[in-house]
């Protein structure tokens, strides 16, 4: 059994909140540059140039890429041979509180969905625990903006809807979102499980690098096919027309019930933020 202090967890979460909000990952930057090179429509080229200039300014000045610094989604892989001295849960919330204060990040969380009073420190974090073998804790902070979150959808398809039903639903969600989620977007798709697990898979899919593919060739091909179909819609950067509507489609899947085919589509904008650290 390995002991880890709760304060260590707080420190890591604090750092990751700031890092994720101010610096996009290299895979994403490379993908945006590659899309800029392929884009033929002048208006779209101009928007992609602004996006590139924007993340360069954020890198240089250590400022948030986007003013919606999101809800702090925190994925925690806890090794089963780890003992945390103190409350792991409290330590994570404290890290978010410190990170959003020190990083001059926006506090975007209300304490109740209906009375809508701001909590003032961006807590609580949305925490997803996963128990894994080993004596380490891996923490991933993925601040999620709501312009794109609001355009996400879930559907309980019938087994007979099959592959075609999944494709149609993903395209319908992207079409309905149109310009609202600040395209170019990253599309996370969760297939299978239960109602809630499908949504979780879709969110988790957004953590995968945009230069990766699903490990199974069938799903890797489906990711590419959906991306091509989305980019044939013509919505384009900001919805002003163009090829680059999406940067990547990432799919995660799991077993499901004989009666069901849940599909969730979690949309992210080009500011697809996530940073990880292992303790």
């Amino acid at each position: 059994m390995r002991n880890i202090q709760a304060t260590q967890v707080t420190d890591v979460v604090r750092r990751l909140c700031i890092e994720a909000n101010c610096h996009l990952t290299d895979d994403l930057k490379n993908c945006i540059s590659a899309c800029r090179a392929c884009e033929t429509f002048p208006v779209a080229q101009g928007i992609l140039d602004q996006i590139i200039e924007n993340y360069q300014i954020a890198d240089t000045n250590n400022v948030p890429v986007c003013q919606d610094t999101g809800m702090a989604c925190v994925f925690v892989d806890v090794g089963q041979d780890v003992h945390v001295e103190g409350s792991l849960e409290d330590a994570i919330h404290e890290g978010v509180k410190q990170g959003y204060a020190e990083g001059y990040l926006r506090k975007s969380v209300v304490r109740d969905p209906l009375d809508r009073v701001n909590t003032g420190d961006n807590t609580p974090a949305m925490i997803y625990y996963n128990l894994v073998p080993g004596d380490q804790i891996k923490i991933t902070v993925a601040p999620k903006g709501f312009g794109s979150e609001n355009m996400s959808q879930i559907k309980m398809l019938k087994p007979s809807d099959g592959l075609q039903g999944v494709k149609d639903f993903v395209l319908k969600v992207v079409e309905e979102a149109g310009p609202n989620p600040c395209p170019p977007i990253v599309v996370g798709v969760g297939i299978g499980g239960t109602f809630d697990k499908a949504a979780y898979l879709a969110k988790k899919a957004l953590l995968r690098p945009v230069d990766s593919h699903h490990e199974e060739p069938f799903y890797a091909d489906l990711e590419d096919e959906l991306l091509e179909k989305i980019n044939a819609l013509g919505i384009g950067p900001q919805g002003f027309g163009g090829r680059t509507t999406a940067l990547k489609v990432n799919i995660e899947k799991m077993p499901t019930h004989i009666a069901g085919l849940p599909v969730a589509v979690n949309i992210n904008c080009h500011v697809t933020r996530h940073q990880s650290e292992v303790i």
């Binding site: 033929t40 429509f41 208006v43 779209a44 928007i47 602004q50 996006i51 200039e53 924007n54 993340y55 300014i57 954020a58 000045n61 400022v63 948030p64 890429v65 986007c66 003013q67 919606d68 610094t69 001059y104 990040l105 926006r106 506090k107 975007s108 809508r116 701001n118 003032g120 312009g147 609001n150 149109g178 310009p179 609202n180 989620p181 600040c182 013509g234 919505i235 384009g236 900001q238 919805g239 002003f240 027309g241 163009g242 090829r243 904008c269 080009h270 500011v271």
Partner: protein, 188 residues
Amino acid sequence: MNKKIQTPFTREDARSLKAGDTCLITGVIYTARDAAHKRLCELVAQGRELPMDMRNAIIYFVGPTPAKPGQAIGSAGPTTSYRMDAYSPALIAIGQTGMIGKGKRNAEVIAAMKEYGAVYFGATGGCGALLSKCIKKAEIVAYEDLGAEAIRRLEVEDFPVTVIIDSEGNNLYETGREAYLQSVQGEA
């Protein structure tokens, strides 16, 4: 070719712009998003005075990040505009002439824009670090308790926007997409 806009932004100015025009705004604009719009419209409904003059005003739908020391404002890109659809027609009716945001608007907003003469501008979503460089001064004029959602008076210089919907109801989201799809027709 960018068109220069100097505030105050009159109804005549609004009517002179066309969907797809790229513009640079200089002068004073105000920030407001969901919570501030709700309060403003409550005041309008009660016939009470607003914390700023809505005549010839441009409202920017934004909730900035806190300013770091030495900054006028933190990152400040647009938020999605449809959440303000319930409120914009009432504000356009009392003189608001410009809105800056991103994303679709509903039929009621577009009808009010056509009736009174107003423009819906888009700023590039997700580019808050870039856009903040055009904001030279920011001060809270109302609703400080709302934090990022407080109403701020911004002094902007050459703030870059694109006309998405003009005062005749022409919509760049429709025409831009069509133009792109036509440009690639016959390829592949």
